[in-house]
Structure formats: C-alpha cells, structure tokens
C-alpha cells in the first residue's frame, strides 16, 4: 500500500490525509474543498492555482510552464491538477481559486398569475378505530376522501408509514396534502390542520443556484437565496463536468449528490429564515440547462458531450423528491419542465414562459447569456431557438486577469485623456476583471482606438505596452501585478460575442425578418442583468437597435420556475412552448461559418 501523507491547506486550515501519488485537485475535491477547476482538471484553464509553502512537491510539469508565468512559478504558484502528492506538504489556496460566496442573481421581474398549484390541502377529522370499527387506517382516510368525491389514495410506502403514525399521534386529525387526478389521489404528506403549504422553486445555473421558498396559498416568496453550484469543483462548465461524469458511475453520482446536498442545505436555510419546517415543502419546480437537468436526475450525460448532443429525456418530468434525495415532504414531487434540445434546456423554457406573459403578441428575441447562451425568436406564433457556445469569458474565465463578479473585480472602465479609471465591485483594491468589466474595457478601447474593428492593438496608443513582444493594455495596478487586457482576451470576447450575434442573425434568417422587426429584446440571466448595454451594442453583441427596445429582466428562469410552482396551467403552457420550438442547430447550418466570421468583427 502507498504511504499516506498529510496536506495542510491554508488559509482555510484544513488538513487532509492522502495516499502518495494522489492528484492534489482530486484529493481536495474529495475532501469537500471547493477548488475551482474550470476545465475539470485536464490542465488547460489554469484556474486551480495553489501556492507551495513547505514540503515535498512533484516537479513543475510542461502544462504548468505553459499556464503560469515565470515569475508566478518563481513565487511558488502551481496547478493543483498537476501536482502529485509525494510527501507531507503545506499549500496555500489563493481566494480566486476557491469557490466562495459571490454576487448571485435571484431577483427577476415577477408577474401576477392566477394561483393554481398542483397540490391542495384536505382537512380530515376521523373516528378512531374501536372494537366495532376495524377499518384500516388507509380505508378510513379513503372513505373520508370518497365522501368529498376524491378517488382512493396512491402513495409511496414511506408516505403511508408517515400517514399512520401522524394520525395516531394527532388524534386522527390532519391536513392531508393531496394531488388528485382522474383515477387516484396522490398523497404528498400529512400536516397539522391549518399548516400552510409551501413550495420550492429552483433555477440551477451551471455556476449559481437560485432557490426560492414560496407560500403556495398566497404566491408570496417567503425567502430566497443564491448559492454557488458545488459542481464547479468538478469542472467550471457543463462540458468539463460531462467529461468528469464520463470517468465512471461514481463520478456521475458524485455530481448528483453534491448538487442535491447543496439544494437541501439551501432549502433548510430558507426554512429557518421563514420559521417553517422542511416537511411543509410539498411541491417543487426545478429548471436548469439540459446537462444540469440530467445531472440532477442522474440520467446519462455522455451523449450530451458529443454531436449530435441528444438528451436522454426531453419530456417534462414529475419525479419523486425522494428519488432525487431532496429532503422535503415524503411524497412530494419535483416538476422539471421539458427541454428543447441538448443545449436548450428547461431554464430557457422558463425564460420563454416569463417573456410570453409580458407581451404574447409582439415579436421578441429572448437571450439568456452564459457559458452557453440560449436564444429564442418569437414571431408570428412561431418560436425559433438555438444555442451558442459563448464560452466562459463573460464569467471571467479564459481571460488573462479574469475573475468572477466578486469583490475586487473591475466592473467598469473609463478611458479619458487623463488615463484609465476603473471601478471595482465593493470598491476594494482591484484583484482582476469580471465579464461586465472586460466588455466595458473593450468598448472603451474601441472608442479610443486602442483596438481596431478586427481586434488588433494600436501599439502606439497610450496604455499599450509589450510583454514578450505581445501588446497588452494596462487597466490598473493589482496586488503584486498589473491587471491587463491581452490580445488573447480580446479574441475571447470576439469569439463570445460573435457566437451570440451569429445565433441572433441565423434565427432572424430562419424567420425571414430583419432585426428592425423585433419589438423587444429580452436580456435574461445574471450576466444580462449587470451587462452594460451600450458596451454590448458597441462591440456588436446585438444588432444596433434603440436602447429602449432592450429589457434586462434579471433571473427570468427563476421567475418562470416560480410561475410553474404556483400554476399547473403554467406547466402546461411551458410544455406547449417547448413542443412548439423549432430548434435550429447552428453547427450544421449552411450559413453558420460565414455569419460567425463576419460577426467576430467589432
């Protein structure tokens, strides 16, 4: 057996014990330490940086030489994914390598809907059994339901177990939570008479999870929270996580259980805030992209990682919370709306649902910007949808000094005669640049001719300097290093905005309408909320339309999830929207390459 070594992780103060030869990233992840690994640990993203303090370290790999600057290597920076444990060691994890509390979007524009939840309360006061009334507990309940014209109960054994125990400990009085259909009454749980029924709505982003605790009888959101998706430890984007899941059944299961653990923790915290119990959560709706949906449901994902990117399931699902491991009422169901395609998921359907409820008659474009950007064009009762790989640049990844929208991130850049002025989140010292910031910086650089429309640097412009003979633009002085925009950064943004713009153009082509025909441009999602629209228009992410046609609607997917939680009618509407959508596969589209090349220009 391999010898066991101790690894001390600073500044978090964790000590782990692992066998010699273990990969440090894997060891940390297995110990539950949420180390960022955007590429899933294959050594191409450089996000899992750690600093060696003391101890024995394996030699610097070629990958590390490529990903880290010589001065970083000199300071002891290493990539956790490249380190093999060869002795006791002490390493420091810099804040940017840890998945920590960050700014999360939970707001969205709520709209009024008619309450029509899938479950309802049914209060019973039963006669207790006696020597001359030997009916079973279930028969007793079924007869009470039958008097109100409900069919007999169908329930999991765990629910029947609860029911019997509850009736016997509550003097045969209960508020039954039921979900009746034509043939059976599905029993969700038994609560004390008068207890309010609560529901959980969840929007699972690849990066962030937005969780809402909702009162089903009033539609009021009692509490909400935004937490990081714990799967980030296994890959920043869904592609890396699919690669991780493909390693084996254990890995695929781990993605599921970590996700559900976090949802349970979030729900428990929300219940604490609202002073209610988890068992009162009797219904749930969860939306997410198709990969997140499959991860949560523990469905196969390997086919989502390769063309033609076919989902295992695209239908709307009602699954038992217990099958997912969600610790809410024992018989609660979780509704997952239909997917449109492998890369257009139920979260986008939720966006469409919200979007439609504003203005069902108008011509709309809805864009949900993320690592993967989903776009739909709604015109003349038709829906055209596509997905484009906009990449993680807007999340701050693959950007030289990129970081997420956390304190210290530059989010606004102004260039003037006097030089460059930056504003950071939290107004702290600049630590890096986030997606909004880089877009703003490039917009300003274009304005001041630091860049031309091809993205080429003007080496004569103020602020431009050469590093290893490559031009870069200095934004600010960070701790120990300058924060710069490189040619590579500009290319990343060109690829990202080009992908989005070509998606928009091809959908307009499919529908046969010009951009001018679009009444409203709906920009959804966290990045979309903080996006500086003028910059986005300046770089050409969207067609150059009047600013007032654009609407930043926040977390429309979360709002859609809440709507489906409160209304069965909305669930049916969502299913209908998904069925109606014509999915346009960009990669096989005859005009894609040409359009994409064109839209990369600023």
């Amino acid at each position: 057996m391999a010898p066991i070594y101790r690894i001390d992780l600073e500044p978090i103060g964790r000590r782990i014990e692992v066998a010699a030869g273990t990969n440090l990233l894997e060891a940390a992840q297995q110990a539950g330490i949420d180390l960022v690994a955007a590429c899933g640990g294959i050594g191409i993203c450089g996000t899992c940086r750690v600093k060696q303090v003391t101890g024995q370290f394996s030699p610097v790999s070629l990958v590390e030489e490529e990903q880290l600057r010589p001065e970083e290597l000199a300071e002891g920076y290493r990539l956790a994914c490249q380190l093999e444990v060869a002795g006791d060691m002490r390493v420091e994890i810099p804040p940017e390598s840890l998945v920590a509390a960050q700014r999360v979007q939970v707001e969205g524009q709520d709209v009024e809907i008619t309450l029509d939840p899938s479950v309802l309360p049914f209060d019973v006061a039963l006669d207790p059994p006696g020597l001359y009334d030997l009916r079973s507990d279930l028969t007793r309940v079924n007869q009470a339901l039958s008097e109100a014209d409900y069919p007999a109960i169908r329930a999991d054994l765990a629910v029947l177990d609860c029911l019997s125990q509850f009736l016997r400990s509550h003097d045969w009085k209960a508020r039954l939570v039921i979900h009746p259909d034509a043939h059976t009454t599905n029993l969700v749980t038994a609560l004390p008479v008068g207890a309010p029924l609560l529901g959980l709505a969840v929007d699972m982003g690849s990066t962030k999870l937005a969780v809402y605790l909702v009162d089903l009888s009033s539609g009021v959101t009692l509490a909400k929270s935004g937490v990081m998706n714990p799967q980030i430890s296994f890959g920043e984007d869904v592609v890396s996580r699919i690669a991780f899941a493909n390693k084996g059944e254990g890995e695929r299961k781990l993605l599921q259980t970590r996700l559900v653990e976090t949802l349970n923790q979030s729900a428990a915290e929300l219940c604490k805030i609202a002073a209610v119990r988890m068992e009162q959560i009797v219904d749930a709706v969860v939306v997410g992209n198709t990969a997140m949906h499959h991860f949560l449901c523990h469905l196969p994902v390997s086919q989502l990682g390769a063309a033609p990117y076919v989902p295992a399931v695209s239908e709307a699902l009602d699954v038992r919370a217990s099958e997912l491991g969600l610790a809410i009422a024992p018989g609660a169901c979780v509704h997952l709306p239909a997917n449109i395609a492998g890369y257009v998921g139920g979260d986008h359907v939720a966006v469409l649902l919200t979007t439609q409820s504003y203005s069902p008659e108008k011509t709309l474009v809805a864009v949900d910007i993320g690592t993967n950007t989903e776009i739909s064009l709604l015109h003349d009762r038709q829906i055209y949808s596509c997905s484009c790989a906009s990449g993680p640049a807007f999340e701050g990844a693959h950007i030289h000094d990129g970081m997420r929208a956390a304190p210290g991130a530059i989010e606004r850049v102004r260039i003037s005669e006097k030089g460059v002025q930056v504003t950071t989140i939290g107004n702290t010292a600049p630590a890096g640049i986030c997606g909004t910031g880089i877009l703003n910086a490039i917009s300003e650089m274009l304005e001041w001719n630091v860049l031309d429309r091809r993205g080429v640097f003007n080496r004569q412009a103020a602020g431009v300097r050469l590093y290893h003979n490559k031009p870069e633009f200095v934004l600010a002085q960070g701790a120990g290093r300058d924060i710069v925009v490189t040619r590579q950064d500009v290319s990343e943004i060109q690829l990202a905005k080009g992908a989005i713009r070509s998606g928009i153009e091809l959908l307009l082509q499919e529908a046969g309408i010009p951009a001018e025909a679009v009444d409203d441009w709906i920009v959804a999602g966290a990045f979309g909320t903080y996006l500086d629209l003028s910059s986005a228009l300046r770089v050409g992410m969207f067609p150059n339309m009047p600013l007032e046609r654009f609407h930043q609607v926040g977390n429309a997917a979360g709002v859609g999830a809440k709507q489906m939680l409160l209304s069965v009618h909305k669930r049916r509407e969502a299913t209908q929207l998904a069925r109606q959508s014509h999915y346009v596969e960009l990669t096989t589209h005859p005009n894609f390459t040409h359009t994409f090349m064109e839209t990369m220009y600023f």
Copy 2:
C-alpha cells in the same frame, strides 16, 4: 469504554467480539447467528438454550431456574437471553436452538389458469440519433409506442437511466417490458430482444418463506425454494416481533432489511438454478399475514400488537420493488393482495383464491393452521373469516420436548400392548417431538385411556410416571434424557385445538348452518400437509365428518401467489374476495368464551 471480550460459538465455529455487559442473545443475533428466540428474548420460552463450555459466566438467573431443569443447569445449560458477557467464553449452541434448514412446504396443488400477466414485452428497433434527427431517447421510444397505440412512458429515473444506457449499448434494439394502462405506459426495464420475462411469487410465513421463480409466458415454475424466515432471530411469532419492532425505528427497519436480504438471496439462488439473471425478474407477488405484510412494507406495526388490531393498510398495494429493496428489474412492481383484518392477511386471501378455483359453488371451510390459524367459511356466496390464536404448539414450541419438523423429531406415535413405538423424521435417533407427533401421541393416549376427555392423566396407565409429583408419559429415550408428554403439553394442545374448533363453530353459527352442510374441508399450510387427519378428528380439532370431505392442499397461499403473478384477473378476484369477507372478531363475540371452554375437551 467497556472492555471487549471474545465469545467462541460452537459447533458452528464463529468467534464474535462484544463489549462487557452485552446480552449474549443480542450479540449473537447482531452477528447474524440465527439463534431461536421464540418469545423475542424476554425469558419466557426457554428456546434460546446454550451450553457453557469454558470461561466466565454471569450467575444463573431466577428465570433460568424456572425454565431449565436442575439436571440441565448441572450440565451447563443456560438461556442466551439471560446471559451477560462478563469475560471471554466458549459456548455450545445445541442444534435445536439454531434456525437451520428444515422441512419446508413449497408444494401446493397447482391449477390451470389463463395467462394474463400484468407486464408484457414490446420489442423495438429504433433509428439511432443523427445530425438531422435530434429526438431525445425517450421521445424516440415514446414515438415507437405511440405507433402501437400505447400511451407515453412513465418511469422512475433509475429506469430511464437504464433505458438510455441499454439502447446505446444494444444498437437501439430492445425488448421493453411494459405495463400499460389507459393513460401511461409504465416501463419496467429494457432487456435484450427475445429475453423471457420472469416473475417471483413469495409466500411469507412467520416461520418459512416459500419463493417461486416463474416464467410469465408459460406459467412454468422454473425453480422454487423454501427458506427460514430470518426474523425468527427476533421473535418466533409475530407478536414477539411486533414487541421487538416497538423498541425503536432501527429495530423495525432491521426486521424489514433482514427479510428483504433473505428474499434477494433466495431469488439469486433460484436465478442461478434456472440460469437466468435477476434483472429478468420483471414482476412479483408477495403474500403473507398482515404483520409480515407490514414488516415487509415497513409500515407501522404497534397497532397490530394491541386491540383492536387494526392494519395500517388493508388495500391491495402495488409497490415499487426498489422501495422495498428487492434487487429485481429496476422498474418492477410488487403486488401485495388486500388483507381482511389485522390477523387475517393476504396469504389467507391467496388460500381463498386457490380454494375458490376448485369448487366455486360448494360450501367450504378453509383452514390455514399456524401459530395463528385463519379460517374462512364460504357459503351461499358469502365469506365469513376469523383468526384464532392457536399458538406455536403445532410448531413444537411451548411443548416440553417440542421441536420443529426437523430430522430427529418424532412425527408418529403408536401405542400398543407392547408399549410405545415412535417414528422420527429422517429415521434418526429421537431428539424431540414436532407438532404432528404431539397430536398423534395425544390421539393415541386418548385411544388407550392414558388421558380422559378433560386431558387428565390416568396415573395407573402403562408408561405414565411421576416427575416432581406431576404425571408424564414417556414416548422414547432421547440423547441424555427421556422424551415425554407432560400435563402442560396436553393443555397446550387443548388450547390450540380448542381455539381452532371454536373458530369453526362460531363461523358456522354466523352462517346459520350445521357442520354437515359443509361439502369440503380444505386444510392448507405446511402443518396441514403433514397433519394426521384421524388424530386431528380424534382430538376434536375439526367436527367429526367423513375423512373424504377433508383435503390437505399444501401451500395454497403460494399457489394463490403464483396465480396472481400470472393473471391480473386473479388479482382482481383476490381483491374482490377480501372485500366480500365478513370478518368475525372472536374475542368480542358473545358466544366465544362458552364455545372455547366446550371445545377444549377432547
């Protein structure tokens, strides 16, 4: 922490390590050693006898002084339930204290039925996905089903997971096992095209489990087995096990998991014999008394242990095999027929189902003899049912030298002028007496006036001797001790047969018919098979009717389970039988006490 001691258990050769102060019975049970404990370890049955060999033992308790003879104590016999571990020790477990392979009833009279199983095969050969066919896996399958007019699939996520993986690894060809109803097609599993569909039928007795592996397309039983119910370690009868379950959730769960583990092992062994795989088992029917039903389903049982003995559930259930922990096809269901009352379970309904299929127009009495005896009278399209506490005497328990029907048990006794002649199971040296044997002995003792009709010994009769001034009748010389029938044994049999007979009499009273009106007397169950009918009539267990009216039908409950496995129609018939039954509660019946007193006489 308490010191740890080693205990060597002979002759099985197991060594266990337990903390000082641990009860030996519990320690053995936790180590998975199936020590008999008829009373559940409360010290009133004396069945958990062990013999001290070497080491330190706690002092003999008052309970042990009561339960063991002075010469047994002198030989080192102790009760495991009374022993506290106080040091290393070596103990011997006599064969009669171990739950071992014993004679088990798996045969029953099969009758021909029309095959109408609840699941059916549906072979598909699908087009694989491609760049211009992006349908999800489930959509692809649903469209194939829709072409055959089946509704869309509803399935657990685990089944959908299997389905996608199976299709992708089997070139998109599969035999889908489906259970269609009006609105959905329930998917059980995907098998290779042409694979036969198998089912499992189980009769769960309190003592024995009969398991049948059946080919659903032919109705042929491919393999069958009889195994001991592992719950015996926690109490020989259901009352003791309910007391055990009442100790806590962990105990109640243990009864469930041990039972399911044994069923899984049995099923695996049958699959090995039939050279098939567990995943091919796509349906199951399980019958048992109401307590066994509740134990399996992990439903509350405390209310079954006290008047008015009301079940949590009396309805027929279709539960997911996965919820029970049964390791058959991922989406398989287990059908559990309806119960009639707390002490008349689905196994008796299965007996009625089998009984009815012989002679639906006749007047019948069906008796299933066990620790608890269920009796039904079928007359003029009415069914009257009751349950009587016949006690474990027929299983050999509570009898001075009683034992189960295992090798060495006296099963036949003949008294003649020359003395007493006994026959043992396996023709080995006599070790004790089983239920059939004691009934036969008492019948002979009555015949030869060793006993009078009150059960009083004739102290002058040959073979009768006094022990501590109490009469006993010597049957044979066992190893180290004589095998005798005591006054107490006679009383136990009087109580047992009196209970059965008074049940019969009260049902006849309810129906308002004399015993002569009964065309056929059906005697079911393991004990009923080996029962010597003449002896049973002689002692007055049944009314004195012509022998040819009695039919020993073997394990009719198992046959009924198989019928329900092969036919949905039979399941409906069983539900109907249970609903139709008028349950007669004997303990509150005005004539019970009087009838019981009368029927105790021989």
